[in-house]
């Protein structure tokens, strides 16, 4: 059981949650994730850790409402308990001094990117960050990102904030302007796919952090498997970060849709139960 100590909505469907999990807070490194489960009948769902506070013993998760589990999590209030939290899972980001690092984050993918940006900056790199979102109110963690980035470029689909355009436009602008030694891209699968295509054109070493379907998160089930360089790898123990130019994004997106119909039906049913209660 992990108690929610703080909760702050960034927008209607996105919130930051601080969970009391002192052991995880102490052990986690950038790139790590946790698996959470809400209630005895809940599903196990992976969420990447955005940050932690060792003194308070908390880990921070940024959650977007996309289905039953995330909706249940966002409904919990400060003082409520999350039934199960296990982690930190996965391999930590390999952070070293490489020169200039281009970090690109889309949607709630910006949250797991945050500790990576911080890590690369503290390791002595020049860090340029591109934050992308559909519209102004979905741009998150801008202030924190500015703290550890030499420059932050904001792209919105509708032009309500920063510049209008896709994340790849912001990335390409930087790449054309100066030498980029490495890139890290975290966001929706489709965004990572096109981000990877962009850096591949310029032959820039690029990492993505994958958030596939998982059950145990410890290597046991293989639900999270993806093809990387033609080989099947497990996101939970071999990743979650992989060489972006080797990932088969088409297959990954196909696999992420495996339960689309069941997930949709379950979400509708869940929304139905909320209405009955109200």
């Amino acid at each position: 059981m992990s108690k929610i100590l703080e909760k702050e909505f960034f927008s209607e469907n996105v919130a930051k949650i601080d969970l009391y999990a002192p052991e995880i807070a102490k052990s986690r490194k950038p790139g790590h994730f946790v698996i959470i489960k809400i209630g005895d009948k809940g599903e196990r769902v992976p969420l990447t850790i955005a940050s932690s506070d060792n003194e308070k013993g908390t880990i921070t998760l940024v959650v977007q409402k996309v289905g039953v589990t995330s909706a249940k999590l966002l409904k919990l209030e400060v003082g409520d308990e999350v039934t199960d939290v296990v982690g930190p899972l996965g391999k930590a980001t390999h952070i070293e001094k490489v020169g200039t690092v281009l970090c690109a984050g889309g949607g709630v993918g910006v949250a797991p990117l945050m500790p990576i940006v911080e890590g690369f900056k503290k390791a002595g790199n020049r860090v340029i960050t591109v934050l992308a979102a559909r519209t102004k109110e979905l741009v998150i963690l801008e202030e924190q990102m500015r703290r550890y980035s030499d420059e932050v470029i904001i792209m919105t689909d509708d032009g309500t904030y920063g510049r209008q355009g896709l994340v790849t436009q912001g990335m390409e602008e930087v790449i054309k302007r100066e030498k980029v030694d490495m890139s890290v891209i975290i966001g929706p699968a489709i965004m990572m796919k096109f981000g990877a295509l962009t850096t591949k054109k310029y032959n820039i070493k690029t990492y993505v952090s994958l958030n596939t379907i998982m059950v145990d998160g410890t290597g046991m089930c293989g639900a999270c498997r993806v093809s990387v360089g033609g080989k099947t790898r497990f996101v939970c123990v071999d990743g979650p970060e992989f060489d972006a130019h080797q990932v088969d994004f088409e297959q990954m997106m196909m696999r992420m849709g495996a339960y689309k119909d069941q997930e949709y039906a379950a979400y509708q049913k869940y929304l139905g139960t909320l209405e009955t209660v109200a």
Binding site: S27, K37, V86, M220, G222
Partner: protein, 496 residues
């Protein structure tokens, strides 16, 4: 070993044992027919989760116990990895003292109701029963009797908790709450240690919970045995992955003096054939975990599972049988085993294969999948299958399967469960760079003490050492390791 033989002799010459032995002529005992296990109707059970084997009743159990001739040198015990005092518990059943029989089981086995259900007794104790070895008759049904005594005790409400030696302040850690870890923790608790079991999942029980289905091993039986360990003072921490949540060094700093690693072989193998990553293709671990641990087939639970109409399970082991029989229970029209050798080479227990056949499972033996095909959404729709024949025996002693060229054909499948084995889970070895591991990722240990060859405070057993074995072999390892840890800690204390 000397004192065990003396102990057995002394026990056998007790008055009650002599009396019961003399109460019936050996010839009368050996002329009795072995009891058969009553089973739920195949057509009912293949649509529900009711337990397949329903257990012996009292009278039948006593009759079966009478078959045991109480040998002066009981060879059956040699066949038991946890060394149950088999004749002693059987004779307690014969005299009708079923609770005492259960106590005898618990002297050496913390999970008798589990072992009575899932042990391959035909390869262990019953294979070395006097009836099998010398009389060429069906062995005493030791497994059925073990289950009977354990179930009787559980249902009586009079279950006793094994005695523990005066509580010690020495802390020991058990990593993983599967059969190896539970066996080790029970023995360590009896020796008086302050035992904490760390489990990565949210439920305690490891493979007994996520792997073995309800129809073969009901969860409440596992929970009962875990509750017993709790009463013996064993502490359980769920959602705790040793090596990740905290390192071994962190735990050492917390005062843990020795570790038993029973982290299992939780890394499923795939065949690496084209199309294997299509949707609807699972490892048996994933398929069984969704259904057993996450209750995915019940609508009130959030976890989904794909329940196919045409389900192919690849493999011939017990896990393959569990998967295919689960598929049938989830409503598959065709639930089939595709196995590359013949039934004779199948590693699954004969009983499981028999049960599967009764339940309407199809067997495509001497067949092997080559490729999968999917519909436009990426869901598997068919498989290309090749026929096989048997050649010369291979390293495993089983005849090698050889593909028959040109025999390929395509069958419709909408769900595939790949059950071709598991590899050791890499998390613990990866967190201990000094630990010696084999090329296969298993931990190298001394076979008697189960102590790591390179890190004296680490002991290991079960699938993380064997790479893929049975519940009872894992439990045997756990017991050996507990003794090894006790010796290690005593010697260390003396040295200081």
């Amino acid at each position: 070993m000397e004192n065990i033989i003396d102990y057995l002799k002394a026990e056998r010459s007790q008055e009650w044992r002599n009396e019961i032995r003399k109460s019936m002529k050996t010839k009368e005992r050996t002329s009795k027919v072995r009891a058969s296990m009553p089973e739920a109707d195949p057509d009912v059970r293949n649509k529900s989760n009711v337990e397949v084997n329903t257990g012996l009743d009292k009278d039948i159990a006593i009759l079966e116990a009478q078959r045991c001739i109480d040998c002066p040198t009981p060879t059956c015990i040699d066949g038991c990895p946890v060394g149950i005092y088999i004749p002693k518990f059987i004779k307690k059943i014969e005299v009708g003292d079923f609770l005492a029989a259960a106590s005898v089981l618990k002297e050496t086995n913390g999970l008798p109701a589990v072992c009575g259900r899932v042990c391959p007794q035909e390869k262990q104790c019953e294979a070395s029963c006097f009836y099998t070895l010398k009389l060429n008759k069906p062995p005493v049904a030791i497994g059925y009797l073990e289950r009977f005594a354990a179930d009787y005790e559980r249902n009586s409400g009079k279950a006793t908790v094994p005695e523990v030696a005066g509580s010690s302040k020495v802390k020991v850690a058990v990593v993983g709450s599967g059969p190896a870890g539970l066996a080790a923790s029970g023995d360590l608790a009896k020796l008086g240690y302050d035992v904490t079991v760390f489990e990565a999942l949210h439920e305690i029980g490891g493979v007994l919970k996520y792997g073995i289905p309800e129809f073969r091993l009901p969860n409440d039986i596992v929970d009962f045995e875990i509750e017993n360990l709790r009463k013996m003072g064993v502490k359980f921490r769920n959602n705790f992955l040793v090596g990740k949540t905290a390192s071994f060094e962190d735990l050492k700093a917390d005062g843990f003096e020795a570790f038993f690693v029973g982290s299992g072989a939780g890394l499923p193998r795939f065949m690496n054939i084209p199309g294997e990553n299509y949707n609807g293709i699972f490892s048996s671990n994933e398929y069984l975990t969704r259904v057993n641990l996450m209750n995915a087939a019940k609508p009130e639970f959030d976890t989904p599972v794909i329940s196919g109409k045409n389900v192919a399970v690849i493999g011939g082991g017990n896990t393959a049988m569990d998967s295919v029989r689960t598929a049938k229970r989830l409503g598959a029209k065709r639930a089939m085993i595709i196995y590359r050798r013949s039934e004779e080479e199948m590693p699954a227990r004969i009983e499981e294969v028999k049960h599967a056949k009764e339940e309407g499972i199809e067997f495509m033996n001497l067949h092997n999948p080559l490729e999968y095909y999917a519909d436009e959404t990426g869901r598997v729709k068919s498989a290309k299958i090749q026929k096989m024949k048997l050649g010369e025996p291979d390293a495993s002693g089983r005849r090698r399967p050889i593909p028959i060229e040109g025999s390929e054909f395509v069958i419709d499948v909408d769900t595939v469960v790949v059950s071709v084995g598991v590899s050791p889970n890499p998390i613990v070895p990866a967190s201990l760079p000094k630990l010696e591991i084999t090329d296969w990722g298993t931990i190298v240990v001394d076979k008697d003490t189960m102590q790591s060859s390179t890190m004296p405070e680490i002991f290991a057993g079960g699938d993380i050492v064997r790479g893929g074995a049975t519940v009872i072999l894992a439990m045997g390892d756990g017991r050996k390791a507990a003794a090894g840890m006790h010796k290690y800690i005593q010697e260390k204390t003396k040295a200081n």
